[in-house]
């Protein structure tokens, strides 16, 4: 596609429910990032995929968070048993090679946990 696509753009869920957020990176991009941005705050790193290497999961805040990237393309971020503090914008970004390359961002998923 022309850019990084994220879906849904908005998600409202109830506390305790599981949610899945999807990211379609730019075709051919080997690197994919997930970041979390709370209201008016900076970007908190969550996870980084680079080609066939083991992902860097060092930013995942708890074991309720997981992510996978199938076939080196689409990625899904899953949050289990959502809590109110999970409410934020979840941003996905991809780049051609990974290190020191320009990142192309999606428009994010606004997650609201009631």
């Amino acid at each position: 596609g022309a850019g990084v696509s994220q879906s849904p753009s908005n998600k409202v869920t109830e506390k305790g429910k599981d949610v899945e957020l999807r990211c379609d990176p730019i075709s051919g991009h080997t690197a994919l990032y997930w970041y979390r941005q709370s209201l008016g705050q900076g970007l908190e790193f969550l996870i980084y995929f680079q080609g066939n290497s083991a992902p860097d999961k060092s930013g995942l805040p708890s074991d309720r968070f997981s992510a996978e990237r199938t076939g080196g393309s689409v990625s899904t971020l899953t949050i289990q048993r959502t809590q109110q503090e999970d409410s934020a914008v979840y941003l996905c970004a991809s780049s051609l090679e990974g290190l020191n390359e320009k990142l192309f961002f999606g428009s994010g998923t606004q997650l609201s946990v009631l």
Partner: protein, 112 residues
């Protein structure tokens, strides 16, 4: 771990003025890249400018330029002849051998 600090949560200037946004970082690496990203109200992050640490010459992109002071670990962004469309959150970011790390951002408002 590398950290990026932006000490100005908010800034406001008049249209056509010049504004400088501050950024400092902490690292023990010698080779790395620094970035400034812009996030307008649409939420779409856009790369503004990129600096390679091994290059002494400061990067420029039209009205945007940086002042890169490697010894001081400082990487400020200067916006000349500011325009209303420059209103956005601006994030400084660092990448060495690992993941890209962002600062907390500076909210810049350009007033007419």
């Amino acid at each position: 771990a590398q950290t990026v600090t932006q000490s100005q949560p908010e800034m406001s200037v008049q249209e056509a003025e010049t504004v400088t946004l501050s950024c400092t970082y902490d690292t023990s690496e010698n080779n790395y890249y620094l970035f400034w990203y812009k996030q307008p109200p649409s939420r779409q992050m856009i790369l503004v400018i990129r600096q390679e640490a091994y290059k002494q010459q400061n990067a420029t992109e039209n009205r945007f330029s940086v002042n890169f002071q490697k010894a001081a670990k400082s990487f400020s962004l200067k916006i000349s002849d500011s325009q209303l469309g420059d209103t956005a959150m601006y994030f400084c970011a660092y990448q060495g051998a690992q993941k890209l790390v962002f600062g907390q951002g500076t909210r810049l408002t350009i007033n007419p």
